[in-house]
Symmetry: C2
Subunit: 195 residues, 2 copies
């Protein structure tokens, strides 16, 4: 399981054996059942978590009780309430498992330690965040410029590898659409493809 993490890191930066040995004990492995919370809103997000296996979602709940999904994270992704993790203030997001999931977690303190002691990890996270910023920019742009249909099609394309693992109403929640809207878009496409 730790190997999944190291493989992922080494796609971006080189790690020496001693560095790997330094990193290993900083991470804690954990298994989550389907529907189990990793974090609940108003707790403090104490750990950054890496997904070795399975699928998680982060979401917040608005005043009217509607859930809005912020992120899906599967094998090879990181997830957290980043704001809460950095500031140690109350989390706004909930995070829970959509499948049986295995994660590796690092605490705020150890994260700081890690980035200070292993500059390669500073670099790794810098590159990770860099890429993440690019995709967030795209998503943001998409959310204001695209129609419901365009958003859905783009999502389907981008998330093709795990599309089958995400129920439609959660895709709707992620895209900020009503589940009915997704349903109608798909019907329209079906008949179009058929005609």
């Amino acid at each position: 399981m730790f190997e999944v993490l190291v493989d992922h890191i080494e796609k971006k930066v080189h790690l020496t054996e001693p560095e790997k040995e330094l990193i290993r004990p900083l991470f804690m492995a954990r298994k989550l059942r389907k529907k189990q919370y990793l974090l609940q809103a108003s707790e403090v997000c104490t750990h950054l978590t890496f997904v070795a296996k399975g699928l998680l979602r982060s979401y917040n709940v608005d005043d009217k009780g509607n859930e809005h999904i912020n992120q899906f994270a599967w094998e090879g992704w990181w997830i957290s309430d980043f704001y809460s993790f950095l500031t140690q203030e109350e989390a706004l997001f909930n995070i829970d498992a959509m499948e049986e999931t295995e994660v590796l977690m690092i605490s705020r303190h150890d994260y700081e330690e890690l980035t200070l002691k292993v500059p390669a990890m500073d670099r790794y996270f810098r590159i990770l965040y860099q890429n993440s910023l690019v995709t967030k920019d795209r998503r943001l742009m998409s959310s204001t410029t695209h129609t419901a249909e365009e958003k859905y099609l783009q999502f389907a394309k981008r998330y093709a590898p795990i599309l089958g693992r995400i129920p439609q109403h959660l895709i709707a929640s992620y895209l900020g659409l009503a589940p009915e809207t997704i349903s109608r878009i798909r019907r329209k496409r079906m008949t179009k493809d058929a005609g």
Copy 2:
């Protein structure tokens, strides 16, 4: 001008004098007139730019010719088409000056060099991107969960210090609203405050 940059960096990480001297020649100073492009879509974004003075915007133009503003950057902010900068592919965004502006620019090559030679800068950018991710998350959440009015009020609050420097129709473009909508929201608020 270089001092503005160094001050900004030293709010996040410590730099030694030799490091500062190493950094200085990597940046190129440039002045921009109002309306002058820093980058146009379909060019390659060759530099990361730091704003020492003035105000820039990045935006893209959709199929119908509508502009969608992605970011405002004023004193102390960085701006670029990050995707293009990282991949050296064609830029999707335009960047231009909304005021007389002074910037410091670093090339893709020197950026790589900088982060490799000065680990503190790897760390600086890591922290910068970290924070940026948090605000992007908030904005994304806001764009799907909030009404037009909530979005505008949130913007007005967050951008209070430079609100006077941004014309209303550009705020509309940033928020993904019609200019008329902003106008109506403000009117509603005025009469409300008066009553």
